[in-house]
Amino acid sequence: MSTLSDPPKEGFKISQLIYDTRYRSMTIQVIALILFLLAVGWLATNAARNLAELGKPLGFGFLAERAGYDINQKLIEYNSDSSHIRAAFAGVLNTLLVAFLGCLTATVVGVLIGVLRLSKNWLISKMMTIYIEGFRNVPVLLWILVVFGIMIEVTPPPKAFKGENPEAAMTLFDSVAITNQGVFIPRLSFTEFGWGYIIALLIAIFGIRWITKKAKAKQIETGIYPHTFLYKLAAFMVPLLACYFISNVFTKNQDRDFLVRSSGQITTLADMASADERFDYCLVGGNAGSLKGLSVLEEAGVTVRRKKFVTEKGALSDFSKEKCNVISVRESEADEIMAQSRLDKLGTDGTISRTVADFTTGNNIQVDTPELTKKGIPRFEGGTHIRNSLIALWFALSLYTAAFIAETVRSGIQAISKGQTEAAAALGLRSGRIMSLVVLPQALRVIIPPMISQYLNLTKNSSLAIAVGYMDITGTLGGITLNQTGREMECLIILMAIYLVISLTISGIMNWYNERVKLKER
């Protein structure tokens, strides 16, 4: 009987960390990590010490202070009394807006041009080549400035629209004004039931997808793909129309009132029209009730100046602060708002009165069309104002990035073997369908990864916004806030963090999409 004894236990020697291949790579990594952390720590403490020496210790308290400057394009309620952090947030939204619009347009244009570049038509393919080379080889900043310059120098100023025989006129049935102060387009205004349309739209999308699925199943079963167009149209229209009619039941008879802050008692519209006072109407952008109020006032011959707000809450808050003095509210809420406004009123001399004007919200979708002001400085009021800075940035960024996307698309298409096209042609498919059914779906797998970096490029290039005064995050936080507070370190840290988060989010979404369309190997 023999006993099997364990091999003698060897003690762990420190030298093993280097000489033993089992541990070596680990050791190197740990050392590298420690060195890296030390370097970061050294830089951070050094920065903190230098800042403290300068008398500017690192601190983010300034973000809560009053910003004091105005932002022209704001997607959230903001005014010069708001905080720096709110200004930064308004800037982030502007960055996201132009990045979203840019990516969308660049994709559409890029795919189109990429496909057309492979066209057998010599002229078309050469023209696309010229487009690509032209845009790719000129710095994007130049394109931004060119578009901006054209917008300012070529389009007419608003005053050209004025007079008996104006030099310029609105286009598209008098609904769109293209001026060198920006483009003004009509804007749809909704009531508080507006969110219903989002739900209706979701239902519509699901309905259409369900119909497609059913049709596919039928095709597999019978070999014939049924006609689905009418069903899809119905699936799209029915929820939206239903929402429209149901909402209208509520809003057609929804009574509204005006609250007026003035030195005298004002109870009728006639009082207002004859009052010797300036009325500023708190207009909530995109709100049908608020818009209706404005037209009621104008019809009654009351001259009001518009003060635009993003939300009803913002309008009410400035009404309390006496920054505007006429507001239209739902009758059911009027008493409460009046009481609250009286409470908030900070050392005012005016009184708030409720002006009874018999009107209701009316249609739950209304159109706010831009029009030239009749008095004062000629300019366009109403509708949505698309500023030149946004147009310049959006166009230049999309056209520039589209050139790169076109190349990506072309290489993606060319990566699909010719046999695929020929096989599809042999099955009798027409060339358009070969592209959309056979080539593009496969090419997508090659196209998407480089596409991610194009989207990231576009988003980061949007920081060139300051060149044209577009108030993105580099314009607000990294521009005016940084400059007025002198907090370079803090602002740049936040700025970098924000771009990092945006970039990681974009690549995250794109990677997820890539996973989905990628060739599934089984």
């Binding site: 830089l43 050094n46 920065a47 010490r49 230098n50 800042l51 020496e53 300068l54 008398g55 500017k56 004091g68 400057y69 105005d70 932002i71 022209n72 005014n79 010069s80 009394d81 900043l141 300012i152 120098e153 100023p157 608003p158 005053k159 060198n180 102060q181 500023d280 100046r305 518009r306 003060k307 635009k308 006496e322 920054k323 505007c324 002001t373 004062g376 400085i377 300019r379 009021e381 030149n388 920081s463 060139l464 300051i466 060149a467 005064g469 108030m471 580099t474 314009g475 990294g478 521009g479 005016i480 940084l482 400059n483 007025q484 507070t485 002198g486 370079e488 370190m489 602002c491 740049l492």
Partner: protein
């Protein structure tokens, strides 16, 4: 354009790597020139001609400084800065002094850590509009599109003015005076607002200045002056007293024409003697040569001469002395005594 972000990064980087900014005088002497931050181009205040030679009211301060420190008014290099980049340029050490219609405010002095060495132009913010707009008061500007330079006190004053008067406006932020001018002339902004001196200077370059008017309202106090970094008191003293020397010279009747003769030997007025170094040792106290002030005055004349030559009533800009007259003439210029 990207420069502000770049300079911001530069400041951040300097802060991270560690650097200190004492001994500007030694630095200046060692490199043989003064690095002066000026505006990107505002005729009469700081503008480069076709040959790249800078001239103007603010430029003259730089030249006088170079003459005082290095004995040569040409020993200046200019860095054009925008409203946004100027402070980072100064804080990062890219320039030794900033002479660029910069308003002396509490937060710039205290919080941004700069030292304003005095005021070389008392100004206020105004509005310029085309006469055809038919506006006669700033209160009528409801809904106007207004061009403003970002990073300035202008944009803050403007926001306050419109908010307190309950009128709305559309701000168009702009980097340089040249861009603002282009947009204003094309009608892309209805109004241009900045310091009244800047408006006068800008209007002077228009093809038909008479078609534009400056509205009566002056909505702020804008004491404009040169500034240096906090923490180098010797350098701040040098810049401060160079400016004071120019102002005192006017008060004492020392001009570019007579400064050479007056500095030959001590004259009757002891203050002139102390200023020009024929008596006492003021120059030595500053760490400069005895004839520092003589050189500064010889560079471009005294304050009055500089004013008249660059922006005065005989120039196209045509600004009258107003608040910028000597205290003896009802203005605000009042320099402490040289003793």
């Amino acid at each position: 354009m990207k420069k502000s972000a770049f300079l911001g990064t530069a400041v951040a980087a300097t802060l991270v790597a560690g650097a200190s900014f004492a001994g500007t005088l030694e630095d200046v002497k060692a490199k043989g020139h003064v690095q002066c931050g000026v505006s990107t181009g505002l005729v009469g205040f700081a503008a480069a001609d076709a040959n790249g030679n800078w001239d103007g009211f603010d430029v003259s301060v730089c030249r006088a400084l170079a003459a005082a420190v290095l004995g040569d008014p040409q020993a200046v290099k200019f860095t054009p800065t925008t409203g946004k980049t100027r402070f980072t340029a100064l804080a990062s050490g890219e320039v030794d002094v900033l002479a660029r219609n910069t308003t002396w405010t509490f937060s710039r002095d205290v919080d941004l850590k700069f030292t304003f060495i005095g005021v070389n132009y008392y100004d206020g913010q105004g509005f310029m509009v085309p006469k055809a707009l038919g506006v006669s008061s700033a209160k009528d500007l409801d809904g106007a599109t207004v061009c403003i330079q970002t990073g300035t006190t202008t944009e803050l004053n403007l926001a306050d003015f419109f908010r307190t008067n309950n009128i709305s406006y559309e701000p168009v932020p702009i980097e340089t005076n040249a861009e603002a001018q282009a947009q204003y002339l094309a009608g892309a902004c209805d109004v241009y607002t900045t310091d009244a001196s800047g408006l006068a200077a800008t209007r002077a370059t228009f093809e038909s200045p008479a078609e534009h008017t400056v509205l009566p309202e002056i909505i702020s106090k804008e004491p404009l002056g040169p500034l240096v970094r906090h923490g180098d008191d010797q350098w701040a003293d040098i810049v401060r007293w160079t400016l004071n020397a120019l102002i005192a010279a006017e008060e004492l009747g020392v001009t570019s024409a007579n400064v050479k003769d007056s500095a030959m030997s001590a004259g009757k007025n002891p203050e002139v003697n102390r200023l020009l170094g024929t008596e006492g040792n003021l120059g030595e106290m500053l760490g400069l040569s005895a004839d520092w002030a003589k050189n500064a005055i010889a560079a471009g004349g005294n304050y009055g001469e500089i004013f008249e030559r660059n922006i005065g009533e005989k120039t196209a800009i045509g600004i009258s002395r107003g608040l910028n007259a000597q205290w003896t003439n009802g203005g605000l210029l009042y320099t402490p005594p040289f003793r």
